[in-house]
Symmetry: D2
Subunit: 340 residues, 4 copies
Amino acid sequence: MLFFRNDYGAGAHPAVLEAVLRTNMELTSGYGTDPHCLAAAETVRGLCGCPEAAVHFLVGGTQVNKTAIAAFLRPCEAVAAAASGHICVHEAGAVEGSGHKVLAIPAPDGKLTPALLEEAMAGPFSEHTVLPKLAYVSNTTELGTVYTREELYALGEACRRLGLLLYCDGARLGCAMEAGGTELADYARTCDAFTIGGTKNGLLFGEALVIVSPALQPDFRRYMKQQGAMLAKGRLLGVQFEAVLRDGLYRRLAAHANAMARRLAEGLEALDVPLLVPARSNQLFPILPAGAAEALAREVEFEVERQLDGARTCIRFVTAWHTQERDAAALLEALARILR
Amino acid sequence: MLFFRNDYGAGAHPAVLEAVLRTNMELTSGYGTDPHCLAAAETVRGLCGCPEAAVHFLVGGTQVNKTAIAAFLRPCEAVAAAASGHICVHEAGAVEGSGHKVLAIPAPDGKLTPALLEEAMAGPFSEHTVLPKLAYVSNTTELGTVYTREELYALGEACRRLGLLLYCDGARLGCAMEAGGTELADYARTCDAFTIGGTKNGLLFGEALVIVSPALQPDFRRYMKQQGAMLAKGRLLGVQFEAVLRDGLYRRLAAHANAMARRLAEGLEALDVPLLVPARSNQLFPILPAGAAEALAREVEFEVERQLDGARTCIRFVTAWHTQERDAAALLEALARILR
Amino acid sequence: MLFFRNDYGAGAHPAVLEAVLRTNMELTSGYGTDPHCLAAAETVRGLCGCPEAAVHFLVGGTQVNKTAIAAFLRPCEAVAAAASGHICVHEAGAVEGSGHKVLAIPAPDGKLTPALLEEAMAGPFSEHTVLPKLAYVSNTTELGTVYTREELYALGEACRRLGLLLYCDGARLGCAMEAGGTELADYARTCDAFTIGGTKNGLLFGEALVIVSPALQPDFRRYMKQQGAMLAKGRLLGVQFEAVLRDGLYRRLAAHANAMARRLAEGLEALDVPLLVPARSNQLFPILPAGAAEALAREVEFEVERQLDGARTCIRFVTAWHTQERDAAALLEALARILR
Amino acid sequence: MLFFRNDYGAGAHPAVLEAVLRTNMELTSGYGTDPHCLAAAETVRGLCGCPEAAVHFLVGGTQVNKTAIAAFLRPCEAVAAAASGHICVHEAGAVEGSGHKVLAIPAPDGKLTPALLEEAMAGPFSEHTVLPKLAYVSNTTELGTVYTREELYALGEACRRLGLLLYCDGARLGCAMEAGGTELADYARTCDAFTIGGTKNGLLFGEALVIVSPALQPDFRRYMKQQGAMLAKGRLLGVQFEAVLRDGLYRRLAAHANAMARRLAEGLEALDVPLLVPARSNQLFPILPAGAAEALAREVEFEVERQLDGARTCIRFVTAWHTQERDAAALLEALARILR
């Protein structure tokens, strides 16, 4: 079976594994207080051009979103997010579970804009309603779309104007940076906090949380502990992030995933297969005619996004750092055969 | 420096790492639905002699305690635990963070007994008070003491009589089984749910949660997701538990840790160093005269438990699967020199 | 100033006040365990034709909604409600504050239907999403629309089919019963739980919660206490509900409020003032041309619902048990003068 | 039956009821934004000598404690309270229900002291533990003991030094002021927030919350709404507090309750009935020999505090604004007869 189901199906990049192996028998303090985490945090601060940022390493995406939002907001304060946002749909109510409402803003391409935020903040809000206090964006979005550098700065400006914290879920930040022309320093200049996703870009697991705003930094490690989000052998996170961040591997892996997706997108265009939204990063949402998805599923692992009218099916292909050129070719070939 | 600080200072046992490496480039479904997790769960059920148990793999100890208790209890229902219990003191209010009071029961050796539970349940409880509904025990306890097989069954019987769920935090369950003569099947027969700790016994990370009571099983994976407790590359947990459970490695590693602790305990006795509580498992709590702890800290990493009267200091030594005989000898030698 | 701002602007109906006065110096047990609460609960059960129902008296609407939903649902379970529902917009995130997501279903007239519920329940739901478990409806709705007897039974049937609890917020249940031809027994037959609102129909304060489903009844008083929802001098609630329920006063007061609203609706029609939705109960939403709302506000207290296009303004008039015929006439006269 | 069960068994003082009656048909805005609440808040600020205090009126004691603590603390922050404190035992886990641990400090007379707080704050605290951030005291305490003016200022000083907010639950503040020689201004100078209890001192219901610290004031009304703690006909609270605060009635009612308790205490001493703690305010805890409590219960309503050794029973007598001299005499007479 060809595998285009997701970008967390394989283990870690060999360089990451090698680092885990190499450091295996070191004896260090736990919970992220070890030299590897300290060094990795310093590397992140350097790449962000932000020496005052607090950097924490957590295991997973829902965990970091939930912990950050629980720590940053007070009761009654709410989150504004695109209706397709991960925290709106795919985290089993984790944010609400810690007491905060998530306002879902319809956004066809999965991207918040200053205009959408302004409309959402027009209210009316009163002491009888929640008050949105944090804008959640994901880059890349859940639809594979990407914020450009300009869009990011515009969002940052809008959030400051509207009294919103800007939080960027960077579960696929590598692909977003490659596709949108952004650097870590851009996120440090625009966001109050953001994550650098490792799980989907070559690590066994791990999300780095960069807290830029000094007001949001105090006590964060205690909040992590309370949420069960401190890893005992925390250095595993530092070791892995060091391995991908030190020499640009993180960017190269993401660039490869994007390139494989572009390869697929070109092939799909040649086959006249439309996409739900224009392809920008490592997720593609092709729309197949009746019967084609079922046929393809016999040869390829992928996810069904949703049924459309006229029996058409929107499916999802995801590429990753380990996707092979020959597998992309084989996928297109299979599809060509089915659609013929 | 000699390292007796904790049992999570090193990485994984070579056999565990080898399994992670061997399966690294497999492409599987995520979040614990892969064949490795299914096989490991089956292995656990077999060892427990409990084919109907639900088995879940989570990353860490606070995470599994918090998630299980949040899932098992309804609002107003409380937990009864020894005052030294991990959830009482060292989890930053994780259980209270999900809305449940923890009643702290003083227990000098860290162990709950039927008598202590009966006293705690004598109340008075009313509609103006919380109602304890779950007894939390840890085995081994935070003081290194251990429940024997008889004590475990007596607790189980007391809990059923008192209308309490029995939950056993097995972060160090291997050491407890070796020291107390218990088998996994004993926990399955007495507890409503319990954990098998991997982090402190040879894994990179991982706690297996065994939910014995059918009433507590439904929807548990959704609760895990809501708590940020589902690992994307979940198979890492299955792969590691398979590696230690299939051929008895889990027990051998724990037996080694206990043996190293016994070695230390004998040496301490020879040195006339008293212990806070009698040594049973891989944690020892020696009481040192004034000045000795400071001197020892120059050569050995350990934790200070607390200051006692007369300037004596209670410290903690922890042994693990990787503790070397020669390091134990060196520690005793250093101590002999200091105390001379 | 004429007062059409809301239905909680005045105190209590004289018969209610008289009962409070008459019983003032009685010495009874507290927290709703007194003879008046017991008798009022019995009266409610009788009117509902449901001798097994549990009946509790709480002080306010947000309080009863929050307490009931927190008690009825487990973590990860969500609420489905019309987007205009009180819990969606006007309770400051009270339901999310106790950990539960509220799914907002667009419904132009504020009413859920079996078709809307079926669509909402079509999902996809998985262990990565919340699971809706309770449908919240308000009768009358926040737009003054009303569920008929047939609609109520259809909703009840749909909820049972879809695995949803049906909860009816009856803050204005009197007006709903008068307008929709429903009786308390109809709610007891279709809902798992519902409230009978006193605050907006002649009481100083008070909402009766009727829990029909036996599975939802245990421990509810303890949940009330935990939520701060037990009134110390609880008998005040029983005394007031007895005063309005025993001889039909509750229905007469609601009928009067509806009649006053009908009077206004006829007058508005004569003045060619359109309504946002057809008038059914004691809330009307007239749409006024540019400038008229501002002019009217000099003589009449009312609330602005929202600005519409073309500078038109949708406002809200609310009638109550104490609304005078002459005040309705004066309002229409003022409006006629302004619109001329 | 003579009634010494509690101080919320009767309705309201006639002057309070008269005010409710007199204002019944006024038409005002809701939720505490009316002129009566504004005036009553102004009166409170005046009595406190604290023009910058925020004053809110809530219905009940658990409600105000829960809402205030939820609003004041961030996640992981905990409360320190005497083990006998109301929030520790009699609020069904309301504080934990909003996510905060309550550390129970043993205090035989129910009173926290600077020394007890210092010991509690000695820790050790770390990022693995909660951090106490608010000291909760009740005055009078649940044992009827009272903080003097000096003790109150010493507590305030200790809290500032230890980084704790000081919160005083004044459910029986009138009796505490009369017995301890404190004035409202003393609380405003020492506490960050405190309540002035109405329910137990002549009102139908109502607790005034005085938030002295500016940092704790923002958004509080929204937190009230989220907790279901805003009364729709909020003016009822303002009207009642005006009635008792304007002319000193609040103090006179409390003085009467204390006087009746003193009368009882003298009688008990004459009968050689010991008290659990020395009598200071309107609650007494006599210790009766075997059988006496049962005999007394046939003539008098009271609560049993707990069984002591040797079959002795500690019971509770509570006096209130409406306790009659002749009832106190009758109680003592009955007791004399039984003990003879």
